[in-house]
């Protein structure tokens, strides 16, 4: 089986690699690039633990071939905010106790980034539906909803400040 050369931007850094056709993007990120913040929880694109941003959209990296990401711009949890700082969602998940074991958290946050991009002021129902492809077994979701609400407010304030 022929290898394929891929080049993509991950968290602002250009990466070029030779990969097998079947290499799943989540394994490329975790095993080849040693960025282990993106997790694997179900293999069937139900749980969302592997959610990343691909060209700005939330995508389940367990159901995406690395070769197809050639030329893409990818953001993982490691690249969401500069080292030592928090994205408003990271801060909100901390403030609102939106995480317990932390396993679903990177995927949940990456999904929420996309959610708030498309809907900066979501209702509770819209948040619940918006994160419905991401399972959390620990929190019961109440505080995740509150986290997304807090982040939405903070991001709106930030936006206002920059206008």
């Amino acid at each position: 089986m022929a290898k394929h050369e891929v080049t993509m931007t991950i968290n602002g850094q250009s990466v070029t690699a030779e990969v097998d056709s079947r290499l799943l993007l989540v394994h490329f990120i975790r095993e080849n690039l040693d960025m282990t913040g993106t997790h694997i929880g179900c293999d069937t694109s139900n749980c969302g633990a592997c959610t990343i941003l691909l060209d700005g959209k939330s995508v389940k990296a367990c159901t995406y071939l690395t070769v197809r990401a050639d030329g893409a711009e990818i953001t993982t949890i490691e690249g969401l905010a500069p080292e030592g700082t928090n994205h408003p969602l990271q801060q909100a998940f901390h403030d609102q106790h939106g995480l317990h074991c932390g396993f679903c958290t990177p995927g949940m946050i990456m999904r929420s980034v996309d959610l708030l991009k498309n809907n900066p002021n979501p209702t509770e129902e819209e948040i619940r539906w918006g994160i419905s492809g991401n399972l959390c077994r620990c929190t019961g979701y109440n505080n995740i909803v509150k986290s997304v609400q807090q982040a939405a407010k903070e991001m709106a304030k930030e936006k206002e400040a920059t206008v």
Binding site: R22, Y64, R68, D114
Partner: protein, 289 residues
């Protein structure tokens, strides 16, 4: 869960894809969003030797009204459809369905063409296409063909597409005054495949008489199913509560569900009855707006 080895080919044009497919033969599969095919490959239910990636083909992602047709490029993602103003304003049935299909991250990748071309009666779009009497445009080695939706679904995961055919466009008669549609499915939890789903499209004339009607059913038959007997009853009639009641009954009789984890055959028939009635009412309400 890891797919078996395969060869990957990226097509940059429809022509190139078709040429590749013709050359590689039946062991080659097209992949657009990949959210139907890749899970099957990971479970090793599908082990194609070749994958032809058509997702990068330019020009197949659009939503536009052209003449008397709504045209949707096959590579349009469900998310693009969800946020499209034209669809939101004039084709609310699309929003009904997309909101209930998988989840937002899957919809970011999953395409309308893939949803239909997979030929799975559990997918949501086939019922909508049946209800709205879509035409499926495909290109293949023999050129372009336009397939009426009633001739598209052939069997379990089988469609009118030849192995090298690419579904390129969906054409739907343009929404007009007096038309309206609605879709709903009962699901065990959000993002699940339908226990049963019903798409309804109606077109009323100025006096409120039903000129055209389409009813498509999701996941209650091996092949996506049109409720012909129900449509016949309504066509040319002023749709009354009694007629709606009768069509619900017909839907429950004519669908072909099987008992499984989602429920017994009888339960599914009952669900089809209920949703058919509710979607008829909702479609009528929209048509009358």
């Amino acid at each position: 869960m890891i797919p078996a080895n395969f060869n990957y080919h990226k097509a940059t044009s429809v022509k190139e894809a078709i040429a590749l497919s013709s050359e590689l033969g039946e062991e080659a599969k097209y992949m657009s969003g990949g959210h139907s095919l890749l899970p099957m490959m990971k479970l090793r239910f599908a082990t194609p030797e070749h994958i032809i990636d058509i997702s990068k083909i330019e020009g197949l992602s659009y939503i536009k009204e052209d003449g008397d047709m709504l045209k949707i490029g096959a590579l349009t993602t469900q998310t693009e459809m969800e946020h499209n103003t034209l669809l939101k304003e004039s084709y609310p049935i699309m929003g009904d369905a997309i909101w209930l299909t998988a989840d937002p991250s899957v919809r970011n990748v999953g395409t309308i063409g893939g949803n239909i071309a997979h030929g799975d009666a559990a997918n949501d779009q086939p019922a909508l296409m049946l209800a709205m009497r879509a035409n499926i445009v495909a290109e293949g080695a023999d050129g372009t063909k336009t397939i009426p939706i009633d001739e598209f679904f052939h069997g379990f995961y089988m469609t009118a597409l030849e192995p090298s055919d690419i579904l390129t466009e969906i054409q739907i008669p343009k929404a007009k005054k007096g038309s309206g549609g609605a879709y709903h499915k009962v699901e065990r939890k959000v993002g699940d495949y339908a226990t049963a789903g019903v798409a309804v499209h109606v077109e009323l004339d100025d006096s409120g008489v039903c000129q055209q009607v389409g009813i498509g059913l999701t996941n209650v038959s091996a092949v996506p199913m049109r409720l012909e007997r129900g449509e016949e009853l309504l066509r040319g009639q002023e749709i009354t509560d009694e007629l709606i009641e009768q069509v619900g009954q017909i839907a429950s009789e004519d669908c072909e569900p099987e008992s499984d984890l989602r429920g017994s055959e009888a339960y599914k028939r009952s669900v089809v009855n209920t949703i058919t009635k509710r979607m008829l009412n909702k479609a009528l309400e929209r048509a009358r707006q």
